[in-house]
């Protein structure tokens, strides 16, 4: 029961903090661009505006209307399996694999919203989203499995506990690098924002989404961004560790800001990859990751 309540607290925390993180990200991008940029609370204003806008319905299917709700719900559920300043609240209910598939559920909902709309753009976006799923997800899985092999467990808390005291090894570095690139794709940042690709296919799966639905989808993307940043930090940069929950939460936010700065730099200096280039990139990355896995299996 305690885990459940703590899980609910973490869900609320994630839901409320996620737009702030995106605001920081925009500010950082503007910084690298030498612009002033929007205020940090701009994403909240965007969401509020969208929630109050008229809802346009251009397709008769159920999933077109409610996949946004389900997508946000799925990604929020995955938040209870993620370490954020403490051990994951409901760890006994799901390990790393369950977490990965809950994130996949959210992606499936995005895809379903794309294929239930009539627009060919959204179909192209959905198709690209699935191709990303096919190539990015394995990279994340392999990176986390490398850590799982190191710790001989598939639970986040064991992985963190192991990693906090073990020295860096080659396989961990490979896993970390792979996960960082995969996270950029999960955050839909350049050079991997091929799925939405505003200038090309006009937000892809979201082209026909409007008003509150679009707000929920945007919120889902913010939350996903935060959760993946949290996973990366928890698994690869667990130091410094504090017993105090509030202190470690603050440290994590600081580390997230640093991580986002890195993402922002990559985002700014790179052009968008074409879908076939992105797919190839991640397949090659996958091969590298499997090399890292081999290192982990022989123990280095």
């Amino acid at each position: 029961m305690r885990g459940f309540l703590f899980g609910l607290w973490q869900i609320i925390l994630v839901l409320m903090l996620a737009p702030l993180l995106d605001g920081i990200m925009r500010k950082l991008v503007a910084l690298v661009h030498s612009r002033i940029g929007p205020p940090v609370h701009q994403p909240y204003l965007d969401l509020l505006k969208l929630l109050g806008k008229e809802e346009m319905v251009s397709s008769p299917y159920t999933f077109f209307r409610y996949s946004a709700v389900l997508a946000l719900a799925a990604i929020l559920t995955s938040a209870v399996l993620v370490p954020l300043g403490a051990a994951p609240p409901m760890e006994s209910s799901g390990d790393i694999i369950v977490f990965i598939y809950l994130v996949t559920l959210a992606a499936v909902m995005v895809v379903l919203s794309g294929i239930t709309s009539d627009s060919p753009f959204s179909f192209i976006g959905a198709s690209r989203e699935v191709m990303f799923l096919l190539t990015v997800e394995p990279v994340i899985v392999v990176a986390l499995v490398i850590m799982a092999i190191k710790a001989q467990s598939t639970q986040f808390s064991d992985v963190i506990a192991y990693h906090a005291q073990a020295p860096f090894s080659l396989s961990v570095l490979i896993a970390g690098g792979g996960l960082f690139l995969a996270i950029i794709a999960q955050m839909a940042r350049l050079p991997f924002d091929t799925v939405e690709a505003d200038q090309e296919i006009m937000e892809g799966p979201f082209i026909e989404q409007s008003g509150p639905k679009l707000a929920l989808f945007k919120w889902m993307i913010y939350v996903k961004q935060l959760i993946f940043a949290a996973v990366f930090i928890a698994v690869f940069i667990p130091w410094p560790m504090f017993e105090n929950y509030g202190l470690s939460l603050v440290t994590i936010l600081v580390k997230m800001a640093i991580l986002l700065l890195l993402v922002a730099v990559v985002h700014v200096v790179n052009p968008r990859l074409r879908i076939d280039q992105a797919v190839r990139f991640f397949l090659i990355l996958l091969v590298l990751e499997i090399g890292g896995l081999a290192f982990a299996l022989v123990g280095s």
Binding site: G7, L8, I11, G52, E54, E55, M56, V57, S58, Y61, F63, A68, V69, A73, A74, L76, T77, M90, E91, S92, S93, G94, D95, V98, Y101, L102, T104, L105, V108, V111, I115, T116, S117, D118, S119, P120, I124, A126, S127, V130, M131, L133, L134, E137, P138, V141, V142, V145, I149, Q152, T154, Q155, D158, E208, P212, L216, R280, L283, L293, L297
Partner: protein, 686 residues
């Protein structure tokens, strides 16, 4: 045991009645359904009896084959009971579905009695295969099942592709059965009896006395069972035979026949074979075969554009998952009992789930065919508006097969991933196999998104106008609903089936092999699975997470509705251009083109759109008067001359029927005279 025989008798009687009923196209289906549901009730009674008061064992054989150590002896243990339950439930759903499905114009020219009679005979054979405990009769029922399924594949035989698919199926499965038979005979030479207990002790003996020969025997058995299960490269018949058969028949293959390959593997490798070095060798082989099937089957499914062919390749892929899990289990039998039980249980759990969602998807493909009369998914679209319930069922089955929580496919796949990854901590190769399974799970998802997106969603295709309005009839809906319901039930309460499977598996091993279910799967009773292998814990509790999900959905829905915005229906935006529906369609072919191009095999000018090796069987064209041609043409040198001679004789003989009384008197006189002469001749000889 009498209950079981009654069930078999009901199937057989049903087959006879349907054969006799002829072409009463409506009532014949209900008779078949009645027979199979009655039989199912009896079989389920048997199953409950097994699970409450132990295996049903026949004391005395029904029939002893003289001079051969074979006897018609049935024995329903826990494992058999599990498979009996699956098969009988599928038989009810299939016959119920066939009721309406077989009325379509496509089969109007065919007599339905051959379909129903063969179908019921098929089910009788399948349940006999599962319950028999004698290898000789196992082969007889196995063969009966294969022949019945062959007849179902070539049903509507005025179609060359069907005949070709049927022949391929016939040929490949019979070669496989031959291997099974050779393996059985070698064992028989060592045991002197075909009964399962004798074979078991023969294997124990051979393991130390002649390990090489035992390897050969196991290899033959694996070849035979893997062919039936559709494991590549032996399962090449499957993608041709499934689409050829009518939808209810495809479901009964997917739901019962291919699963018997798994039953055979478990029977031989877990029950007969004592845990030892042989289990390790063959466990790894089975797991690798499974991984190959997963990869090749599913990657090929990604490029298919025929609904049933797509599903058939997924059958191969999913059977690969089951083989992977069971192979992992067999490998760890001698070293890590708990891990082995988890892996074997995961395999059987996945089998049960596979029966649910794969049968459901075949039903859905059948319903789509029923509505629009085509299986080419490029030509279909937007069916969710006229088939809303079928579309909903299809989405549930699709999420389940793709392994998305909280549906059943995820629960079993999670167990498979955990088993392979934990196995990988001990033997690294299993990590690679497990990762392959995780990767291909996403490919499954992709493939079904294509299926769902191009069949049910998107632009309406032209054939929408041709389709009858309204969803498919209720007799076709109910089986789909039942299976989709099971997908949800087993997803939210994975512990329920897992507990049963655990009870079915443990009696195969010596007592004290593993503890009770709670020591393997944790203490939560209803929803949760908690694994503890080598001090590392992992859990998947569907229900608490589902509660969280529902709460989150409620929160999201509250946000969604918080501003109480108005809704407005409007046209889709096509960049400001008026556009015809047909131009705006995104066809099944277009999905994932860049990805498919990477996995295209291209050597010089030779190019294939997938990784699936299609074996071109050489067309044997013999010259008409070739000796071999004459030799294999039994019709020509044996049957036709025989029939002609008989007919000539009878025609000649009919001349005696002149109709004149005095001619008959003459014949009688001649007959009496001949009798007297013969009697004298014989008595004189004495």
């Amino acid at each position: 045991m009498p209950t079981f025989f009654a069930a078999v008798a009901i199937y057989l009687t049903g087959a006879l009645i349907t054969l006799w009923m002829g072409d009463r196209r409506r009532s014949i289906g209900w008779v078949a359904w009645g027979a199979s549901s009655l039989a199912t009730v009896l079989i389920l009674a048997c199953v409950i009896q097994v699970f409450t008061s132990g295996p049903i064992i026949m004391e005395k054989a029904l029939w002893q084959v003289p001079g051969l150590g074979a006897s018609l002896l049935f024995r329903i243990d826990y494992l058999s009971a599990l498979f009996l339950a699956i098969i009988s439930i599928i038989s009810v759903l299939v016959t119920l579905y066939a009721q309406s499905f077989m009325q379509i114009a496509h089969y109007q020219q065919q007599s339905l009695r051959y379909f129903y009679a063969v179908l019921l005979l098929f089910f009788a054979a399948v349940i006999a295969v599962v319950a028999i405990s004698d290898l000789f009769f196992f082969f007889i029922f196995w063969e009966m099942m294969t022949l019945c399924s062959y007849l179902l594949v070539i049903y509507r035989s005025n179609d060359a592709t069907r005949l070709r698919a049927g022949f391929k199926y016939f040929f490949m499965t019979h070669v496989a059965t031959a291997f099974l038979f050779i393996g059985g005979l070698v064992l028989y030479l060592h045991s002197g009896s075909f009964s399962f207990t004798a074979l078991k002790s023969a294997m124990v003996q051979m393991q130390s006395a002649s390990p090489g020969l035992l390897h050969l025997v196991l290899g033959f058995f694996l070849l035979g069972f893997a062919t039936k299960a559709g494991i590549l490269p032996m399962g090449d018949w499957l993608p041709d035979a499934y689409p050829a058969a009518p939808a209810p028949a495809s479901v009964s293959f997917a739901g019962s026949m291919t699963k018997l390959g798994i039953y055979g593997v478990i029977r031989v490798f877990c029950d007969f074979l004592p845990a030892g070095s042989h289990s390790q060798v063959w466990g790894l082989t089975i797991a690798c075969l499974g991984a190959i099937s997963i990869l090749v089957g599913t990657m090929t499914a990604l490029v298919q554009e025929d609904a049933k062919r797509l599903l058939s390749f997924h059958v191969i892929g999913q059977m690969g998952y089951i083989f992977l899990a069971i192979g992992t289990g067999i490998y760890f039998l001698p070293v890590q009992p708990v891990l082995a039980i988890i892996a074997l249980g995961a395999g059987i759990f996945h089998l049960i789930n596979n029966v649910c969602y794969k049968s459901c998807l075949f039903f859905v493909a059948g319903s789509v065919f029923y509505k629009v009369g085509t299986r080419d998914i490029n030509k279909i679209g937007g069916l969710a508006t006229i088939l809303p319930l079928t579309a909903g069922v299809a989405v549930i089955a699709f999420l389940s097969i793709a392994g998305i929580p909280p549906f059943s496919g995820f629960s079993s796949k999670w167990l498979i991933y955990e088993a392979t990854l934990r196995g990988g901590f001990l033997k690294p190769v299993f990590v690679i196999l497990g990762l392959l399974a995780i990767f291909v799970s996403a490919v499954t998802l992709a493939s079904f998104i294509k299926f769902i997106g191009s069949v049910f969603y998107g632009k309406y295709a032209d054939n929408k106008s041709k389709a009858k309005t309204g969803d498919v009839p209720w007799s076709m809906q109910i089986p789909q609903f039942v299976l989709a319901g099971l997908c949800i039930l087993f997803g939210l309460f994975p512990r329920l089936p897992v507990q049963w499977i655990f009870r079915a598996l443990t009696p195969l091993f010596p007592p004290g092999f593993v503890g009770d279910a709670s020591s393997v799967y944790g203490h939560s009773t209803l929803a949760g699975l908690e694994l503890h292998v080598n001090d590392a814990a992992a859990g998947w509790q569907a229900l608490p997470l589902f509660v969280v999900f529902v709460l989150c959905a409620a929160l999201a829905f509250y946000l969604f509705r918080s501003a109480k915005v108005t809704q407005r229906a409007d046209q889709t935006w096509f960049g400001g251009e008026p556009i015809k529906n047909e131009d705006g369609r995104y066809r099944a072919h277009s999905y994932y083109l860049p990805f498919k191009q990477i996995f295209r095999i291209r050597i010089g000018k030779y190019e294939r759109p997938g990784v699936y090796p299609t074996i071109r069987y050489p067309d044997i064209h013999l010259k008409k008067d070739d000796f071999w041609h004459r030799l294999i043409d039994v019709d020509r040198w044996f049957y036709t001359p025989l029939v002609n001679a008989t007919m000539r004789f009878l025609r000649f003989f009919s001349n005696t029927h002149s109709g004149l009384p005095h001619v008959y008197l003459l014949w009688m006189l001649i007959g009496a005279l001949l009798t007297v002469i013969l009697l004298f001749a014989f008595s004189a000889g004495k």
